[in-house]
């Protein structure tokens, strides 16, 4: 018996794929203390996955942040199940924030924690730090040196506005105003 039936020719219509790492950049001009976390690349199956660290004098030495990546779920084009990845290091302990659609979560050890805002501050303890998820509204913060990362929407830190994937090293007694449908996390160094 011969194998004669086949699905013909999946082939290559529009399937030329580009593996293209993009240059990273960080806004670090002097008067502005916020640092933008740029999108590194969207990765097809394979993909040159190798997130680059963002170097900025506006970030403390205990905190490292890497360019974001999007891993395409179907391996060839953008879709609803794509996985956004934002890697951080707190005192060399790696933490990965994942985005699927509008949902954000963080992998801490083997546990995934939902990062959606609650009615009050939610705290996640990591090996060497603490992550606070602030509720919507005005939050008076006294965590000098903590890093704030806006994951979604907009957040005002005193007079400075953070947009999506902006981060900022906080000084003491700042007011963080979290707008509706916005998410900001604060990362504290506990060592």
């Amino acid at each position: 018996m011969k194998r004669q039936q086949f699905i013909l020719n999946m082939s290559l219509i529009g399937a030329a794929s580009l593996l293209s790492p993009k240059l990273l950049f960080a806004r670090n001009s002097k008067p502005i203390r916020k640092v933008h976390i740029p999108l590194g690349a969207e990765h097809i199956r394979h993909g040159l996955y190798s997130p680059k660290q963002i170097v900025s004098t506006n970030l403390p030495s205990w905190f490292e942040v890497f360019e974001r990546d999007i891993l395409l779920s179907n391996g060839h084009s953008v879709g609803p199940n794509d996985l956004g990845v934002l890697n951080l290091k707190v005192n060399a302990d790696s933490l990965s924030i994942f985005q699927k659609g509008n949902d954000f979560s963080i992998l801490n050890g083997r546990e995934n924690h939902d990062l959606s805002p609650q009615n009050s501050v939610k705290t996640i303890q990591t090996k060497t730090g603490k992550i606070l998820i602030l509720p919507v509204g005005k939050n008076k913060i006294e965590h000098p040196g903590a890093i704030g990362i806006c994951l979604k929407g907009t957040v005002k830190v005193d007079s400075q506005q953070l947009n999506e994937f902006d981060c900022l090293s906080l000084t003491s007694e700042q007011v963080v105003d979290v707008k509706q449908n916005s998410i900001i996390i604060l990362i504290q160094n506990t060592l």
Binding site: M1, K2, R3, Q4, Q5, F6, I7, L8, N9, M10, S11, L12, A15, A16, S17, L18, L19, S20, P21, H43, I44, R45, H46, G47, L48, Y49, S50, P51, F66, D69, L71, L72, S73, N74, G75, H76, S77, L83, V85, N87, K89, S94, L95, S96, F98, L107, R110, N112
Partner: protein, 275 residues
């Protein structure tokens, strides 16, 4: 480093995988030369949970990995790397090719690993052209290189994580061959260039054919000089979650792979370049 333009017949719209084969990339390029090797090809990147395999057709590929392996394989050869629990590797045209230019053509395909093997130690199996067993058709016009698995009494030197047969076909116009493939294997044929007839269908350059599991042989008639690959293997039939460079059984395992890579648990590769 600039981008790389290549053909990706798998995955494509409507076809996510042909279990256990997850991806086929065909990179066919004319390198202009004048490049340093470190600026050519694909730099260090991680993998976990499957085996990326490179068939080299033109030029040479310089493989380096985080286990300390460094290996150059030239046209006609194969680089078979089981990423297992994790490896970081780079794949670049040879120094001479990057500097002097020339033709460069490879196919990379991915073979999934069963869950039980996903955390095996990583390994690398190089195979040179002269060490690849071949089978010829009765008319002498079709030559099949047997890289892994069994085909017409020949056994490929490379061993995989699951039963399979991976083959390279080179044929001259007018050749004919009936290729025996186990009925329970999934099978596909991808044409690098040329034209063949299978059943009543004509299959040309950069076409891919996926066969039904309804028989044990594939009859091929060669209409034009042809180069192709034939990938066949027993389906693993497990959940597959694939993102970027990782292939696992669940999204949680993907997330852990990403984090483990950031933590350096998949290894580190510092490339050293001459000159």
């Amino acid at each position: 480093m600039g981008g790389i333009i290549l053909d990706q017949p798998l995955p494509s719209k409507g076809l996510d995988m042909v279990d256990p084969f997850l991806l086929i990339h065909h990179w066919d390029d004319q390198l202009n030369g004048g490049q340093k090797q470190q600026d050519a090809g694909v730099g260090p990147h991680p993998h976990r949970g499957f085996t990326p395999v490179t068939f080299i057709f033109k030029g040479g590929v310089h493989h380096r990995d985080s286990t300390g392996v460094e290996s150059i394989i030239e046209a006609g050869g194969t680089q078979w790397m089981n990423s297992g629990r994790g490896i970081v590797h780079s794949e670049r045209p040879t120094k001479e090719l990057a500097e002097s230019g020339g033709k460069f053509e490879i196919i990379q395909f991915w073979v999934n690993s069963p869950a039980a093997s996903k955390f095996d130690p990583p390994s690398y199996q190089p195979l040179k052209y002269e060490d690849t067993p071949t089978v010829k058709s009765a008319d002498g016009l079709v030559t099949i290189g047997v890289v892994a698995g069994q085909f017409h009494g020949k056994t490929g030197p490379v061993s995989g994580s699951s039963p399979l047969a991976t083959l390279r076909l080179e044929a001259s116009k007018g050749g004919e061959m009936s290729m025996e493939i186990p009925k329970d294997y999934n099978a596909l044929l991808y044409v690098l260039d040329g034209e063949v007839k299978i059943g009543d269908k004509t299959v040309g350059t950069k076409d891919m054919v996926v066969f039904n599991n309804d028989g044990g042989s594939i009859d091929v008639s060669i209409l034009e000089d042809t180069r192709a690959i034939i990938l066949s293997g027993e389906p693993i039939n497990e959940p597959v979650v694939s993102y970027g460079p990782f292939v696992m059984n669940s999204e949680q395992e993907i997330r852990e792979a990403i984090r483990d890579y950031q933590n350096g648990k998949l290894g580190t590769l510092v490339e050293r370049f001459e000159g």
